[in-house]
């Protein structure tokens, strides 16, 4: 098990890496078989229902690589700020050692030319997060990061940043 204080440290560190756009180090937080998942229907298996994101290692690396290429939907890029709260620690199973539950509020803003539609508007994404962690030597690694967005059932404009 992991103490709640340590669990919070881990989640804060992950949030900071994303907010500082240090995506290379963020990638290293995952195990090789780790999954980054934003479901639409959180009660379905990922093969039965479309997800907003269902990234294995390769696709997660492609996502980070694309961010560095400044595609139109990320030019200008998103600045984010994660607020992490309501952290709970639950025992895991054979696949993963612990499960962390948290609530995350993500503020996102794309700066730039305000003549362009929606640029400069701050958006808030509220999500219930689940992190399944496995201990590798002395480091905790992410086996699954699942973010269940509050607004997952309604149209979402571009969600092309790491949440």
């Amino acid at each position: 098990m992991i103490k709640r204080e340590k669990a919070e440290d881990f989640l804060y560190m992950e949030a900071r890496l994303i907010d500082q756009r240090n995506f290379c180090d963020w990638l290293e937080l995952f195990t090789k078989d780790g999954i980054y998942w934003l479901p639409i229907n959180e009660n379905s298996k990922p093969n039965d229902h479309l997800s907003l994101i269902y990234d294995d290692d390769l696709r997660r690396r492609e996502r980070v690589r694309r961010l560095a290429l400044s595609p139109p939907s990320q030019a200008p890029f998103s600045r984010t700020l994660h607020v992490v709260s309501n952290v709970e620690v639950v025992a895991g199973n054979d696949d993963h050692d612990v499960v962390l539950h948290s609530v995350q509020m993500v503020y996102e803003i794309r700066g730039g030319d305000d003549r362009q539609f929606e640029l400069g508007d701050a958006r808030i994404f509220a999500a219930r997060a689940e992190h399944r962690l496995r201990l590798h030597d002395t480091n905790w690694k992410i086996v699954l990061k699942r973010m269940v967005l509050l607004n997952r059932h309604i149209p979402i404009p571009n969600l092309t940043f790491i949440i």
Binding site: I53, S73, F117, T160
Partner: protein
Amino acid sequence: MGFKNGHGIWESPMTEGAILAMKNGPHAEYVKELEKLRGEKLAHQMLNSMNLMIFPNLAVAHGQLRVIRPISVDKTEVSIHFYDLEQVPENYNEFRMSGYQRFFGPAAFGSPDDVEIFSINQTGLQAEEVEWLILSRGLQREKLDNQGVRTGDPTDETPQRAFHRAWKHFMTNGS
């Protein structure tokens, strides 16, 4: 291709090399089954990349149904419905869904860029100096047959012209 009633087809044929690669790839079984069921020629045509635009508001494209609903002059709702294929190997539907998730949707690698460009286009369309929407690509090589069907190349705007031609017809003297 563009049709008199406003429908359009965009098709990009598979090269022989691409078909061969598919026959030797992880979806060889799917190609084999399709050839057995439909014959080689039709099966290979079915593997083509094809978009079907049904005037005025339905599209069959990229393994999806799209329903286009105009809401106001500056707002259009496009709802996308993904479907599985029946009687195909399970890994083929998984492959389609994974590819779909990679490209389409707000957090994917394709359509958010399109949406961004559409929104920039909307801003641009509010400019009052240019009164025309230019859709002339490939106009010089478009062929018109005696059934009224126009055919162009895959990069041409033949289907778009068909849509606007029909729209103009119905909005002026059409019945």
